[in-house]
Structure formats: structure tokens, C-alpha cells
Point group: none
DNA sequence: TATGAATGAGGGTTCATTCAT
DNA sequence: CATGAATGAACCCTCATTCAT
């Protein structure tokens, strides 16, 4: 299940028709439910198909196999992430733009959106992401970050005091992700508390305000 | 494998004799190699036993099953973490004590030790830790952190400007872990670069220097 | 195998279609053959499936596991018992009805039918029945007896001089079964001899003719 | 476990010394307990040895293997049977001899003794006996019967109105055994009730009083 | 296109037995 | 004599995948 051999990523068929698209979505949703409820061990093609209300072979008509479903699942989740954060951020930025004054803490809004995203389907997300990594597609995990980065980059007036270097962006994002994942894992009940949000905001601001390391030659 | 029911953790047989202890170590080492090389799918009891040069049933004489081996593996790794960091920190602190002047950046030394630890056996560690979490033993992941915290608490002269609240310690640790894991995952080749170390040090210092959120009522 | 915990009895899949029913029968027949030829040790799911000419997993599609096959086997055998005896008895009774005179010893005919049943597949039957008992389903063993009793109860003219009390019916049946099983076991070659039949008839008649114990207060 | 291939019956060593004999007994008793408590599945050499408080290999020093232990167990039980019945019968017969009048129902006393024997260790006995049969040693099951028969044959004055033919003795014994075993199996709670004893006595007397079949030519 | 019965390789685990101590 | 660690064959069962309908 978890071998590292590259997996053929594109779905078997690009479904053009509405019905096919719907079926893909049904299968993915079923997969998410199964994963969330029963963990990776419960995630079998037969079970997912059954939950989706289709035959096993239908699943194989739309996906290259079990791995492919998992990968698609992870990507779907990733898209949700990106969308949620982007939207929150856009709203904040646009808000500012429209009324001509500083947005009320756009970074906080983005963090709040992230927390909400992490609060849902914690099992499912972790497993799906692990699979993505195992499939050698770990780099895709950066997608939501990039979306945010792109959004921020588009706003020339400094949201953060200093432009963030790619490395710093990487560290910041993965650090945030680590804190959020740990909280989501249930190691603590922090996730939903204002104090936790406060800490994250604090972390982001403190780090982003740092003068920045001298340019590395790496 | 991913169900959350508590797993009986203690090994089947308390090895009192040297030979038995050695065999446990041999099996764990074999498990680590298999996991590192082939991922979770390759981690079968038969394969691990074979690599260890023992019969399958010997494995079962020392461990309660596949899960138990994985859990023991994770704990072993955790102990390595704690030991490495603790040792680095101790050396730094003692160094200072002995020559009467400020240690050369003990926090940096600890981070450097962590980076080294994360650089080895990246697959194995991630999978083993996931197993720990899946076994409902996720709280054990805090062990190395606690060791460090205990060590720091023993030094009254402030290593960090302000004492860290538990929540802040949690965030800091999981954030660090997130950054290290992401770097180790190969998303980037940052892990071994001085710049990456620099960023982590920067992150820790900036965050630790924060005045701290007002006490929350949560 | 010998623990007493109730076993989930119904087959995994209710076979509605003809082909499925046939497959169940094929598997059961294969099981009977394997059991008869090799004893309980030879009764492995793989072996049974192979003999049936299907894959192992097909067996598992129709049965909940090894135990379930054994139980189904026992029930099938039980049904054969009941059917054989019932049929013999019916024939005798109807014969009488049709020609208006006493049937030629219906009890003897029933016994003869029983002997024939016991003569076939002796190993298989014993083991399968033991399994039924071990599965906590021992009460099912009474099924053929009840069928006979029901049949007799339907004939108001006394086949036996006195109605048999439940206890007496129990003793009579289990005694008969004991004698038949012992003979079938090969302790002696009595099973097929007229003398043995004679003795059984004698036993039944003598015991059934007894006035009956005074009602006990237990 | 239940294969029918003949098993080498004699124990590996005829233990002459007291200690050895004691150890054999300890092992057998442990086996009986394990069998009674856990059924045939729990009867493993390791488990029996552990319960006996000896090493596995010690078990193998006194028995040829698992089967041999089971066979010895069955024989031990059989001896208990024979002893119990013989003793009860002897007491009754001697009682009569001593006071010169008819013993108070010696057949009833024998039956009562049998019932007591069957009431104890029901699981263990059934399994052990099955094993004896599976080992091709089923004929040994006749041993207690023969002991009784021998005892009765020694008393020329008719205990039963008519001498019993071997076939009739066989039927009677196996019938009794069947009734007792069925009752012991728990199909009913009859075993300990006076009414059940009454029925058995009734069965024996009625059948034994039969004039007897004409001499068969088998 | 959709189905689901069928497959068989392979996984985890047990246990009768041996052999070096 | 006694031990018990070690063995490996074999068991039961699952599941990703296919193919005839």
C-alpha cells in the first residue's frame, strides 16, 4: 500500500460528461468517509465502492486503482485548503481595498481559516497526505502555500514588513502546518481555542518581522 | 492498521538476559532497515524476521505482533531524539559552566542536533511515528520535548528570555517538528544547509522572545 | 475450534440465484469429502476450496469462515437424517392408510432408514456434529428427532402403545444415536447386520412399552 | 490434529521411578484441566507443559507427542470409569452376598455411578475420547464395559434374567453411553435428576428382560 | 458503461517439535 | 534429566484487480 514507486497520476479517463464527473465526486466522497471513519486499514476498493453505491469495477473505470483514489482524495483536500485560505485572505484584502484603510489583520484571518480547515476530517487528511508523500508526490503538498504566496505577492503593499524569501516561506508554512497538524492530531485540545490562534498569529508575526538571514548561497 | 484501538504495548517477554536484549535490538534494527528501504508495505513480520536472521516465530516471542514492533521502533527513535538533543544541550550548558562565560548559542546547538537526527532514516521515522499515533500513543511523541524542557528547567539562568508557557512550548515544538519533517520529506533539499539552520534558530528566537499572549481563560 | 462462543451462523451471502446455490452445494460437498477422507486436520479452507474447484476467496464469499462451513455441513447432514427417516415413516404410514391395514412395522422401517443414514460418511458426520456442539448449536441436533416426533404426533392412532414423555423421547433418541454411532464408529461391524437392526427394534419396543416412571418432582 | 493415522501408543519411557510416575500424572492432570477449560484448541503442548509447571521438552520426555498425551488422558479417564462402576457393582454384590439377601438394585447403583462419572469433566472426556477414536484406538472405549461384563459374568446367579449376548451387551452399553453423553453435553439438564436415572434404569431393565433375538448368524 | 462474482498471492500468526545448554 | 529459545511449515483470511455478462 505504501510503497514508494511512482504512481501514474492522471485519472484513467478525463470525464467530460456531467454524470461521470458526479460519479468521481461520489467515489471520492465515499473514500473520504471510509478513511475518516475506519482509518487506512478500512480503505479498500470494495468498501469505498460499496459506500459510493457503485460496483467495484466502476471505481476502476474512473481511477487507476486504490492509490489513485487516495491521491485524488489528497488533492481534493489540498484544493479545499487553498481555496479556504485564499478566500479568507482575498476577503480581507479586498475589504481593505474597498474602504481604503488597513484590513483587520489579514494574517489572522488566514490563520483562522486554516484552523477551520484542519479541524475537519483530521484522520482522512493525514492519511491522504501521507499517501501523497508515499506516492512520491509530496511536493504537491506545497500547493496551498503557493496559492497563498501568489496571492500575497500580488499585493505590492507589504502585508508583511519584509518580503519573505522562498526558504523563509517554506519554513513558515511547514512550521504552521506542523503546529496545526499536531493540534489536530489530538495531542492537545488546543485546536479550537482562541489562545492557540493567538499563538499562531504571534509565531507568524514574530518570524516574519525578523530581519532575515543574510542571503545564503544555496 | 489504522484503527485507533489501544494496542498492548509491552513486549511479550521481558528480556532479562543479554542475549535476549540483543535479539530485540537485532529485530528492531532489521525493522528499521526494512521500513526505511521499502516503506510500510514492505514491513511484514516475515520480512523483518528474515532480515534479522531469525525465524518469524522468534519475532513473536519478543513482540506481541507487527504493531508492537512498529511501536517499539518509534519509541527507540524517540529515545534517540531525546538523547541527541539532551546531550548536545548538556554539552553546551556544561561548557558554559566550566569556562564561566556564556555558552556559544546552546539553542543553536540543540537545533543542529535535531537536524542531524532528522536527516537519518526519514522514511522509517515518519512511518513509525504514524504508527504510534494510530496506536493511540501519540502523546509519547512529546517525550523528547519533555526531556529538553526538563533539562532547561534545571538551568535557572534563563536560556530563553522568558519562560515558555505549556501552550507556547507545544506550538514551538510542533512547529519545529513540522519544519524539520517537511525538510526531511524531501520537499526541498534544505535540511542540511546552514541557511535552514539559520532560519530555525531565527524562528525559535523570534517566537521565544515574544512577550507572550495575555493569559487566556480557556 | 473448541471454544464455546456462539458463532455467527448465517452464511455471508444469501444466494438467490441458481448458480450461487449450486456453488454453495459444491463447496459443502467438497467439505464433506475432505472431512470424510482426511478427518478434521485435513479440513482446511484452502483444501476444501481446491476440492470444490473454486478459489479460497470464493469460499469466503459464501461462508463466514471455516467454522461456518462445518456448521452448514452438519445442518445439511441433519436435514438428510430427518428427510430419510421422515420419508420412510411417511411411506409406511401412508401404505397402511392406503390398504386399510396395519403398516408392516413402521418403527422398524424408521430404524432401517436410520441405519442406512448412519452407514454413510461416518467420519464426516461425527466431526461435523461435534462442531455444531462446539459452536454452541448442539440443540440443533434434536432437529431430526423433532421432525419424526411431529410426524408421529400427526397420527392419532398410537404408533407406540403409550405417548412418550419428552424425557423419555430424549433418552430414547440419544440412546439410539449412541448405539448407531458406536456401530458406525467401527467398534464392531454390526451396523449392516439384520441382527443389529433386530436389537434396535427390540430396544425401542421394550422401552416404549414401559409403563413410564411416576411423575418426578424435579 | 485429528488425522487418522495410527499413533504409536506406548509412552516413550516406562517410568519406573516414583518421581517419573508423578511427573506423568502431573502432566496428564494439567492436560485434563486445559482441555476442560479451553477445549481442543487450547490443548497445545506448550500450554499443557506450562500448566504442569515443567518445560515443554520434559513433556516430550514422557510422551511421544501431543497425540500421545491425549490418548493417555482418554485411557486414564476410561480407567476411572471402569473403576467407578466396578466398585459400585462390587459393593452391591458383596452387600448381597454378606447379608444373604438380594442386593438393593445393583443395576441402579451401577447406573448411578456412571451418571456421577459422566457429570465430571464433560468437555475433557468428550474430546479425549474423540481423539482416541481418531487415533484408531476406538476399540479401547469398550474397556469399561468389558470390565463390567467380566464382573457380572463372574456372578453366576443371574443379575439379569437372561444372559446377555455380546451384541446385546454392545447395544446396551453404547445406548447407555449415548444417553449419558447427550445429557452431559448439556442438551438438557437431565443428567443430575432422579427422573433421568429412573429412565435409564427403566431402559436397561426393559431391554435386558427381552427374550432375546433368535441367534444371529453373524 | 456498469456490474459483481471470482481470483490467488500474500499477510499475520500459531504451534508441534528439536537441540544446545 | 530438565530446560526453553528457536524454528518454519502451515493455517485462516483479506483484498486489489479482472472479466464475462
Amino acid at each position: 500500500m505504501g510503497t514508494t514507486r511512482q504512481v501514474s497520476v492522471p485519472e484513467r479517463r478525463i470525464p467530460r460528461q456531467q454524470r461521470a464527473l458526479a460519479k468521481v465526486e461520489v467515489i471520492l466522497e465515499a473514500g473520504a468517509q471510509v478513511l475518516e471513519a475506519g482509518g487506512p486499514a478500512a480503505f479498500t476498493t470494495n468498501r469505498v465502492a460499496e459506500r459510493a453505491g457503485v460496483g467495484v469495477s466502476t471505481l476502476y473505470q474512473y481511477f487507476d486503482g486504490k492509490q489513485a483514489v487516495l491521491v485524488a482524495l489528497a488533492r481534493r483536500e489540498l484544493d479545499h485548503h487553498a481555496a479556504a485560505v485564499t478566500q479568507a485572505l482575498s476577503a480581507a484584502l479586498e475589504g481593505r481595498a474597498s474602504n481604503g484603510q488597513r484590513a483587520t489583520e489579514p494574517d489572522r484571518l488566514a490563520i483562522r481559516a486554516l484552523i477551520e480547515v484542519y479541524a475537519a476530517r483530521r484522520n482522512m487528511r493525514r492519511i491522504a497526505f501521507d499517501t501523497l508523500v508515499a506516492a512520491g508526490l509530496g511536493q504537491e503538498l506545497a500547493r496551498p502555500v503557493e496559492a497563498v504566496a501568489a496571492l500575497l505577492a500580488g499585493n505590492d503593499d507589504a502585508l508583511f514588513p519584509a518580503r519573505l524569501s522562498p526558504l523563509r516561506l517554506f519554513v513558515l508554512t511547514s512550521a504552521m502546518n506542523g503546529a496545526l497538524a499536531a493540534a489536530a492530531r489530538g495531542d492537545a485540545k488546543h485546536l479550537a481555542t482562541p489562545a492557540f490562534e493567538e499563538e499562531l498569529v504571534s509565531l507568524v508575526r514574530a518570524y516574519a518581522a525578523e530581519p532575515g538571514a543574510p542571503p545564503s548561497d544555496i
